[in-house]
């Protein structure tokens, strides 16, 4: 492994200092380069979600760096939730197939002491392909008018309707996703996307506001027209900050709230 835009610290043949050649001489630490290489292997599918990646020693040999350097790279990837370390076992690619991580992206929790395990039911109302509207296309980074998959669904918690949302997915990668497949699948959608469509959601950004329920939403969520609802627009990203899903949801916050931690 060679340093990028900087000499190795074992030999200093050509000290590429600032303004050497005119281009910006960005210093990139070795462990960042290793991090990028590992990310590339994740992105390319060399190591799939849930799988064990090579040990730190193996990776160190493979990249020609010390174990400590690989370790620091993996530390950061684990902090970003791309990898999961398990002492004595090894390092695994993170996956949405896991009890503990199942609600990493749904921040809605019951008001009550939550000692109760909550029964959650999905209901798919729509699943069809449409031409992307300008705003949707722009957020998903596709061409205006390109095909997208639109899924409309509700979430019932403890028997009550709580979430009503529209999900937009780029048409190409999700070509083969059907309503029938959705109905049949048990488990988080993100787990399905990951196992069958090679798309792992890694990060998301949400824009939250309060809106008054219209007639349609009111009926579906069983609230009066005009009832205040939480509007949550979520854009999810896969490896390499590529946007791959847009969700527009309405949350009924009568008996639930959106929980957030600031630090």
């Amino acid at each position: 492994m060679q340093r990028m835009a900087a000499p190795t610290h074992h030999s200093s043949p050509q000290p590429v200092g600032p303004a050497a050649g005119g281009a910006a001489p960005v210093f990139s630490p070795l462990y960042q380069q290793i991090k990028a290489l590992i990310t590339r292997s994740l992105q390319s599918g060399e190591w799939k979600p849930g799988e064990l990646i090579p040990s730190e020693a193996e990776l160190a040999a493979r990249y020609g760096v010390s174990q400590g350097t690989v370790r620091k790279a993996i530390d950061e990837l684990a902090a970003d939730n791309l990898l999961m370390r398990r002492q004595g076992r090894g390092t695994f690619v993170s996956t949405h197939h896991e009890e503990q991580v199942k609600f990493r992206f749904l921040r809605l929790v019951p008001d009550t002491g939550s000692g109760q395990a909550l029964r959650m039911e999905r209901q798919f109302l729509e699943c069809h392909r449409v031409r992307a509207a300008a705003d949707v296309a722009s957020l998903l980074g596709i061409k205006n008018g390109e095909m997208v998959l639109e899924i409309r669904r509700t979430l019932h918690i403890g028997g009550e309707p709580v979430v009503y949302e529209d999900i937009y997915l780029p048409g190409a990668p999700f070509r083969s996703l059907t309503a029938e497949r959705l109905e049949r699948y048990r488990g988080p959608l993100y787990a399905l996307f990951e196992s069958e469509f090679g798309t792992r959601m890694v990060r998301a950004e949400e824009k939250i506001r309060a809106v008054n329920a219209g007639p349609q939403e009111a009926e579906i969520l069983k609230v009066p027209v005009g009832q205040a609802l939480l509007s949550v627009e979520r854009l999810s990203f896969s490896y390499g900050d590529q946007p791959v899903e847009l969700r527009r949801g309405l949350y009924s916050t009568a008996r639930h709230h959106y929980r957030n931690t600031l630090s």
Copy 2:
């Protein structure tokens, strides 16, 4: 520095294994102990917000461990935003007196491209002492009926009323905070709390829901009665997870939204 509940790795006199003596033999890494010691120094005020703490080498000598161990402790404290490292200068205690960190806790941003610097104005409507209601006392960890300081205020952004909130502070530490002092102060409240009341906000938890505006809120935020508003309840913690502030805010999300990042 001696390891806690575990022998040092230089000598192994009494391997305190599981179930040795009946007490839970919790293994605590050295760097965690260092982290706790540094936190204690922050909490005790030995190093105040904005100040430079001793160099890694000095701390290593002081605690009798290697620099690498101190480094790992500081790494985590920096990740938690308790400390800030600056290459070539040293490590500083985080502070709310800083442009970049000023809006770390206010997640409301304008819908527009935000290229514009937003003019923000505060207006204090109330500032008095009251006996804490049961729910407030419970959240702040004080006795029911103890005195708390209640501050009511609005925030105008770009000339429009956007936030209306109630702030509850425990009476004792904020004994000397007056309406007059609030009016006179320029800058974030958290910066004032930190410099004059020795209370630094380190972390917070928010519960968010949507509510319909009542007559009073509607008038203050200049929206129709019944308008959907974001209700944000924030509990802020100081060092050692001690709750020290409760805020109940209503945000008008006509031209702003609450931004959140999931990872």
